[in-house]
């Protein structure tokens, strides 16, 4: 790990350096609706500065909402030609994501590359560098400290920037991060370890994983699930906003002759998610579906991969039309 400093006035030059190097820079952009989204940007001026959290997570960069797997086309020999674009993915920098989002990448990386590595994720992930920004503010939906993270966590990041009076404290975590810094080395000065604590937000700790870990084992049979899911409208907003939700659907678009096969986000809360062609639906009530989502985050992913797949970003709480609250639900079912 390298430690550097860069002054606030030089940060735009660093940013421009990335653009000049021909990288696609994806950064938070404030839209008319007052919401902040990750968008490819052309200049530092477009980047939003005042935001607690983006509406959707940065997973979109490595796991787009619609991803073309390949195009197919009938050839003259009667077979089909496939064409994927794995070799055409540009070098991308995600700028200004939050530590919780970066921690989400840590999970995505383990999930997609285990057992049967996902070629599309890998191709994108390998070309993506995360320049994370520590949080100086938070709101009541944030609960990263409850899931063993914190607003200055370096987990998953390649570079972590922490704003400190007039300068940024730069923690360079990986090779990928180093190469970004090395291209603009003149902007940085070396430094000793500094304490970030003073400059970080203090989100409320809602629970500790220590106490949840054992109690979640029997949570499946909790009677509280019904109350926890009654308000659920069964839309997919929580899953689509989540930085670690990875479920997808594969669909063909086109004719038998030519077209494309795409994968697109899917959500376990939608009633059609598990429905068989026969009409049988293994999880037919919202209670079961909500339970699956929460149990996956806090129990199943721990058992399968050893990671809690909730990073405490609070997006699902912010986007939920009926304000279902994931940490309150978890507390109630593990009572």
């Amino acid at each position: 790990m390298e430690l550097k400093l860069i002054s606030t006035t030089d940060i735009a030059a660093f940013f421009d350096g990335l653009l000049k190097a021909g990288k696609v820079v994806v950064a938070p952009v404030l839209k008319q609706s007052g919401k902040v989204f990750f968008k490819p940007v052309q200049s530092f001026a477009e980047v939003a500065t005042e935001y607690i959290q983006t509406t959707f997570s940065a997973k979109e960069v490595v796991f787009p909402k619609v991803e073309e797997l390949f195009t197919y086309k009938h050839n003259e020999e009667g077979g089909l030609d496939f064409n994927d674009y794995l070799d055409r993915i540009p070098e991308t920098v995600i700028w200004g994501l939050r530590p919780c989002d970066a921690a989400g990448f840590d999970y995505l990386n383990v999930f997609f590359l285990q057992e049967h590595p996902d070629a599309y994720f890998k191709a994108r992930y390998d070309k993506t560098t995360l320049v994370t920004m520590s949080c100086s503010t938070c709101d009541e939906s944030c609960f990263c400290t409850s899931v063993d993270s914190h607003p200055g966590d370096t987990k998953g990041s390649d570079v972590l920037l922490t704003a400190m009076d007039g300068k940024y404290y730069v923690e360079v975590m990986t090779e990928k991060g180093s190469s970004l810094i090395n291209n603009n080395l003149e902007l940085f000065t070396s430094t000793e370890t500094l304490s970030k604590e003073r400059f970080l937000a203090k989100p409320a700790t809602r629970f500790s994983m220590e106490e949840i870990k054992d109690r979640i084992q029997n949570a499946y049979d909790s009677v509280e699930w019904k109350q926890a899911s009654m308000g659920c409208y069964s839309c997919g907003a929580c899953a689509f906003a989540c930085p670690t939700c990875t479920c997808f659907d594969i669909q063909d678009e086109g004719t038998q002759d030519h077209g494309k096969r795409v994968r697109c986000w899917d959500a376990c809360a939608l009633s059609q998610f598990t429905k068989h062609a026969s009409g049988h639906n293994p999880r037919k009530t919202q209670t079961e579906r909500r339970r699956q989502r929460l149990m996956h985050k806090f129990k199943y992913s721990v058992e399968n991969l050893g990671i809690v797949s909730c990073v405490g970003c609070g997006r699902c709480i912010r986007v939920c039309p009926s304000h279902l609250n994931i940490f309150e639900n978890i507390l109630s079912v593990t009572k």
């Binding site: 696609v24 994806v26 991803e67 073309e68 086309k73 064409n83 055409r88």
Partner: protein
């Protein structure tokens, strides 16, 4: 591409009046533009608005929707219902900024072979003047799929 642009027109017509009208145009040897592809429906009341959107999505440049004159509907009121629906649909598309001048609504009876031929000719000419319909195709540029989409599109033609 030196070829001149030939618009693709899809016509959604009712079985009882307009289709018969088009038949009449044929049997009377009335010549009209060959750009039109006719799709026959039992009644204009049966034409779902999604069909129009699908037609545009699949490459139509213009659309004709046609059926019996008011009071002439084989099923008494199908065209009255359709009329309300088309009015609403047209204004919705307009509100969304969709070029509604690519959709032509008309009443053509079984006796109006000539009207049908004129309708097709006029529509073809007006759509030809508007040029190929590309607005819809240009919608799909997924922001994070920053790759050579045009190239892929070409290959898959």
């Amino acid at each position: 591409m030196a070829e001149t642009f030939e618009p693709k027109i899809v016509a959604f017509v009712c079985n009882w009046c307009t289709y018969a009208g088009a038949d009449l145009a044929g049997t009377s040897r009335t010549k009209y533009a060959t750009n039109v592809r006719i799709i026959r429906f039992p009644c204009t009341g049966r034409i779902d608005f999604m069909l129009l959107i699908k037609a545009f999505q699949n490459g139509a440049d213009g659309i004709i929707v046609s059926g019996c004159h008011p009071n002439d509907c084989h099923y008494t009121s199908g065209n009255f219902h359709a009329r309300r629906r088309w009015m609403v649909f047209k204004s919705l598309l307009d509100f969304m900024g969709f070029p509604t001048d690519r959709i032509t609504f008309s009443w053509v009876s079984a006796a109006e072979g000539k009207k049908w031929a004129d309708l097709v000719n006029e529509t073809t000419e007006s759509v030809r003047a508007l040029g190929p319909f590309t607005d819809y195709k240009n919608l799909d540029f997924t922001q994070f799929n920053q790759i050579d989409h045009e190239g892929i599109a070409e290959q898959s033609r």
